[in-house]
């Protein structure tokens, strides 16, 4: 392929040649009659220019057209010297006639070539474009690269776009980006080039450099090209996240607002990151700086935004008051959180009936948790938030009672009111021990009969099953277990010996007996470990019993370890069984009598 500079020089020379040809023809000479094209080009020769006679390739340009042809420089006719007798065909008139004929023939050929050349290049371009459309990227890239410089400007830009697209599809991202970026600089108005360039940069997670390209599209109202609007949403979200994590709160808030405006990821924008005051207030709360937090949340409240922002202001102020730890906080927190709930959940009840301790089977629980997990993320987030606020609000009620600013007058009202508030914190999306712990403890302290005590214990057992391990809780449960064992033993003994129901005195006076219900593996291991530690601490104080005690402790440790291994084996078998039939259990394919359908 000819170098463009060399080609331009050649073209210039040919044009000069044509000028010389024209200049060599006397301006006054009449053109020779010719059967060729009617057009004759006559150009005055520049002063002082000479060229030997001969044939030259020449190019004519103008009016948006370009013609390449062949012209001749004719020998100049002597003007002063006497001329020899003229041959019939060799006089100046004959030379001019010959030159004109050649020139006209050249122009004809030029016109032919002028139309044939671009047409063939256009056909070649269309063929290559078709290859790109057919996904034959590798084949198209080479041809487009070779051809692009020979194309007129409009097609040249198109060829470069196609080349960039093909390179992108081939995974040559560096080269594709290089070419598309150059094209974008030269023609920033091309929306397709801008979109493809931004898309490529997003794929490389180069969000900073994708942003200005998309911002330009946005300014020109061209986010309709491809999926530019969605792409811009991705970019703004990513940049907002970075700004937030780097502490550039103003930038983060602005960018998140833009994500909301663009629309596609509106529901992914955290509600509280739409406001600078909320972000700064939250950070102050996490930094244990309630004074600063109060300032930001009061600003937000006074700004009078929408319900959602007012809900955040109430929540932020509620948490601030809770953290300030001043007298009367419980009542104020309860009021603020109640306001927050009214704004967040205007149709939701402020309280719910307390369901009591859980009674469902494992299969029910698995099924329920699975259903909750299938809910949309936004719904789960909302349920979790409401549960958290209701839990804190219930605890604020208890706190107000403790601070002697009670919102409810009597202990029974406190129990009922707390349970009704914490019932809302029992959510499927996250199982918390806290509601059972608080309500169970309150009920345990207020229990007036055995039935209420049993309910309290069941609630505390639920809290334990959900992870509560506080010593006070464990002490209550262990005490209850010991009493139960004692009652069972007395009942069993009396029924066997005397054939009568034991009295209260029989039960309360009964001596401690060995365990009746089976201990858990964990309990046995903990006890064995504790005994071994105590034995070690006693050391030589054991005297004659030392050797026997040490042997028993070693045996206990060994048997506990064996028990743990066996329990794990049982669990493994259980897991296999569940894997085999778990789906049918959940689908309810079992009849009441346990037989499969």
């Amino acid at each position: 392929m000819a170098h463009p500079v060399r080609r331009r020089v050649t073209r210039a020379l040919l044009v000069a040649g044509l000028l010389l040809v024209a200049g060599a023809t006397p301006a006054a000479a009449a053109p020779a009659p010719s059967p060729g094209p009617a057009a004759t080009v006559v150009v005055p020769l520049p002063a002082g220019a000479t060229l030997p006679p001969g044939r030259y390739q020449v190019t004519l340009r103008g009016g948006g057209r370009q013609i390449t042809t062949t012209g001749s420089v004719l020998p100049a006719a002597p003007s002063a010297a006497p001329s020899p007798p003229a041959e019939p065909d060799s006089g100046p008139g004959a030379w001019i006639g010959l030159g004109g004929a050649v020139l006209l023939a050249g122009i004809g050929a030029g016109l032919y070539l002028a139309t044939r050349g671009p047409r063939s290049r256009r056909r070649e371009f269309e063929r290559l474009a078709g290859q790109v459309e057919a996904g034959e990227y590798q084949a198209a890239v080479g041809g487009l690269t070779r051809l692009e410089s020979q194309l007129p400007p409009a097609l040249r830009a198109e060829a470069r776009f196609l080349c960039g697209f093909a390179l992108y599809q081939l995974g040559d991202l560096d080269e594709a980006e290089h070419r598309l970026a150059a094209l974008n600089r030269e023609d920033p108005e091309s929306s397709e080039v801008a979109y493809l360039l931004a898309y490529l940069r997003v794929q490389r997670r180069d969000f900073e450099r994708a942003q200005p390209v998309l911002a330009a599209l946005d300014r020109r109202g061209r986010l309709d090209v491809g999926q530019a609007r969605r792409l811009y949403g991705v970019v703004q979200y990513q940049l907002a996240g970075r700004a937030a994590s780097e502490g550039r709160i103003d930038d983060a808030v602005t960018l998140f607002r833009d994500v909301e405006r663009l629309g596609d990821f509106r529901d992914r924008v955290p509600a509280d990151l739409r406001s600078k005051q909320i972000v700064l207030g939250t950070r102050a709360l996490l930094d244990r700086d309630p004074a600063t937090a109060r300032r930001h949340f009061e600003e937000l409240r006074d700004a009078g935004g929408d319900d959602d922002q007012q809900a955040s202001a109430a929540l932020g102020l509620g948490l601030t008051v809770w953290a300030e730890n001043k007298p009367g906080a419980g009542k104020k927190v309860h009021q603020l959180l109640s306001r927050c709930l009214r704004l967040l959940d205007p149709d939701g009840p402020a309280t719910r009936r307390w369901p009591g301790p859980p009674s469902e089977t494992v299969a029910d629980e698995i099924s329920r948790v699975r259903r909750a997990g299938e809910a949309p993320a936004a719904d789960r987030e909302r349920a979790r938030l409401l549960a958290d606020i209701h839990l804190l609000r219930g605890c604020a009620l208890v706190r107000a009672f403790a601070e002697e600013t009670p919102l409810l007058g009597s202990e029974r009202q406190l129990l009922g009111g707390t349970a009704e508030r914490l019932a809302y914190a029992l959510t499927d999306v996250r199982q918390l021990a806290d509601p059972y712990l608080v309500v169970g403890l309150l009920r345990h302290h207020l229990a007036r009969d055995a039935s209420e005590r049993r309910t309290a214990i069941a609630e505390l057992q639920a809290a334990q099953a959900l992870g509560a391990r506080d010593p006070l809780l464990l002490e209550i449960l262990h005490r209850h277990e010991r009493q139960t064992q004692r009652r069972r033993a007395v009942w069993s003994g009396h029924a066997g010996r005397y054939g009568r129901t034991p009295t209260v005195d029989d039960v309360t006076s009964a001596a401690p007996v060995g365990p009746v219900s089976a201990p858990t593996v964990a309990e046995l291991s903990e006890r064995a470990e504790l005994l071994a530690a105590r034995l070690h601490a006693m050391g030589a104080d054991l005297g004659d019993s030392g050797a026997a005690a040490t042997a028993l402790a070693a045996r206990l440790e060994q048997e506990s370890a064996e028990l743990t291994r066996r329990a794990r084996a049982v669990e493994a078998t259980e897991a296999e069984l569940l894997a085999l039939i778990g789906g049918r259990l959940l689908a309810g394919d079992f009849d009441e009598d346990g037989s499969g359908t």
Binding site: E158, L196, Q238, A323, L392, R399, E411
Partner: protein, 70 residues
């Protein structure tokens, strides 16, 4: 005009081949971001754990009886 329409058609076809842009947020980054969200840190900010809940209940229980007299 015909050529322009052809180019427009071709561009639309090619750009349609690009996958739909998705928001791919790194889990850690997302967690950092969420940590700045007030609604995600209610219990953390309140430092409400089992020990505090039990302390609240015990403080309230200490007033039982007094409330009845009031």
């Amino acid at each position: 005009m015909t050529a322009d329409r052809e180019i427009t058609r071709r561009h639309a076809g090619l750009l349609d081949r690009l996958k739909r842009p998705e928001l791919d947020v790194d889990e850690t980054d997302d967690e950092d971001l969420r940590h700045l969200e007030l609604r995600r840190v209610v219990l953390e900010v309140a430092e409400l754990d089992h020990a505090q809940e039990i302390a609240l209940v015990r403080a309230a229980v200490a007033r039982f009886g007094k409330a009845g007299q009031a």
